[in-house]
Amino acid sequence: MTKLVYFAWVRERIGVPEEEVALPPEIETVHDLLRWLKGRGEEYAFALAHEDVIRVALDREHTDHDAKLAGAREVALFPPMTGG
């Protein structure tokens, strides 16, 4: 199982802060994951519509969309950060 966590408007649009999912074996990269999630329902399609702005962290480290999930236990999806 993989834990997916969402923040800010990604969390609001999907409607849950986190969830556990069983990823199909063909989901290898972050890009594959985003495409698969978008097929899960309207709220996912809405949250991830502008795929290129979605930032991703694997096990709490920033990564890019080409990265392999490589057994990451926690995948976080969020908009560009606005702290400080």
Binding site: F7, A8, R60, A76, F78, P80, M81, T82, G83, G84
Partner: protein, 158 residues
Amino acid sequence: MSEHVPPSIRIQKEDFDAAREAERLTRGRRDVGAVVTFIGLCRDEHGTLAALELEHYPGMAEAEISRIAAEAMARWPLGGLTIIHRHGMVRPGENIVLVVAASRHRHAAFEAASFVMDFLKTEAPFWKKQHLTDGTNGGWVEAKESDAEMLGRWTREN
């Protein structure tokens, strides 16, 4: 610096006291010649903003800020570095973020504080939601292109 002090990183709901934090970095020391304190505050946006709601990614926020702090410590000879970032509701006039950098000379302290803020804004997982004075939800603050561009000035050297 003669004394190596590990950076102090705190992510907290409570306010902080900048003067006290600066004092903590110099107390009992004779090798610190410069302390730069940066405080980021919540603006009222010409009276339209009632509060900012700061969301963060617990665990990763600490990890990212620690990574940025370690990089600053490696780049400049710092005698101390404190970074505090608040989360939760912050109202206009209240503190959001604090960076205190201590060094032997001013240049390292100024540069390190600036470096930390530039990376913190674009790499530390925090998001701001606006609550407006008319009671409506002002939506999420959008990331500024100019913030990402600021990082470019730190990549030349090193």
